[in-house]
Assembly symmetry: C2
Homo-oligomer: 197 residues x 2
DNA sequence: GTCTATAGTAGGATAGAC
DNA sequence: GTCTATCCTACTATAGAC
């Protein structure tokens, strides 16, 4: 298989997935027809189906991108030195997401989709777990550095508290998508104030 | 308009809405066809459409029921004497919801629907606001009784903290729906531990 | 690989008898 | 008010030319 062709194929897939994301952002997953994605991509039905076998495959591709980027962001954050306080995690996660997506709407739609679609649900579940894991490690490391805890004790604290940080992000997504005059800045400040230090 | 007819009409609407809820619980909103709702209700298409003009109207009816019951529960809770501590609110809300719905899945689907459907979004937004308001009043009252705060100070604290309690519930709904082996009991214990007292 | 045109199908809604 | 039968729209996916 020649190298140029493979690169071209990947580029096309990316191009199509980007167009799909733009369309989904406007109208959601099921409200968006293949015709709209096709039009957004500036291609034709045949061209799209040559790269993705179905609309669901396209949804999965887009979802995987969003999600993998998010987890990578956190993992990257855990490598920083000095480490920001864990209470700053929700803000960083939320801001990264908005930078990439424009709005958290798509995330909420994805969750709704996951309820009835086992494939999407498996993906979403793995994300929540990966996010909790990486946040837990982050908290553990922070506790050891900042408060001199032993690694066992710090790990336990990280496992326990990680759920709180993840919850803060999830609730931000819900409220930012649903409440028209949601004050994200105020929400984040309150969470930072009450989350453990 | 004779009284008997009106009562009958309401009873039928309730019957249909209940059947729709059962169907939605299994497969979600859009994955459920009118045929399934019709079958679940043991009626026919004509009978259903005589009471609800469209599938969307049926979704709205079901959503309104779920949501109004939830808000009423909190309002009722606020009248109790002695008042349970505010940190117990998420557990009570979650348990009430599960008693009524079986699982929080439908709630998450509703949120997903809200992203693209303005009518549903308006409903969901009003619920979040009503919930925050009633929880805020609850916290305020609790702070005055338990810690002797002045009403202005207590109100401010209630407004600030209410978002935390609502967030705990929202995140429970997300995780319980998405993560197969989600440990709700452990989640609630952790939230209760860290939520303000 | 990509296009146009279309096949195939599912599901929401309605018409008209009773 | 309710039932049966059916229409019609909208969508995904494919077939075949270039």
């Amino acid at each position: 298989m020649p190298k140029v062709t493979e690169e071209y194929r990947v580029a096309r897939r990316t191009e199509i997935a980007d167009a799909a994301l733009r369309a989904f952002r406007r109208k959601g997953f099921h409200a968006t027809s293949m015709a709209e994605i096709i039009s957004e991509a500036g291609l034709s039905a045949g061209a799209i189906y040559g790269h993705f076998p179905s609309k669901e495959a396209l949804v999965m591709e887009v979802a995987t991108r969003i999600i993998d980027t998010r987890v990578a962001d956190v993992e990257h954050l855990a490598e920083l030195d000095p480490m920001p306080a864990p209470s700053a995690l929700p803000r960083m996660l939320v801001e990264g997401m908005q930078r990439e997506l424009g709005s958290p709407n798509v995330m909420l739609q994805l969750w709704g989709e996951a309820v009835t679609d086992p494939t999407v649900r498996a993906l979403a579940a793995s994300v929540v777990n990966r996010l909790r894991a990486v946040v837990g490690r982050y908290v553990s490391r922070w506790q050891q550095r900042e408060h001199g805890l032993g690694s066992d004790e710090a790990d336990a604290l990280g496992a326990e508290q990680s759920v709180l940080f993840v919850a803060a992000v999830q609730s931000y997504i819900v409220q930012a998508s649903l409440v028209p005059d949601f004050d994200g800045e105020s929400y984040l400040r309150t969470q930072e104030k009450y989350l453990p230090h």
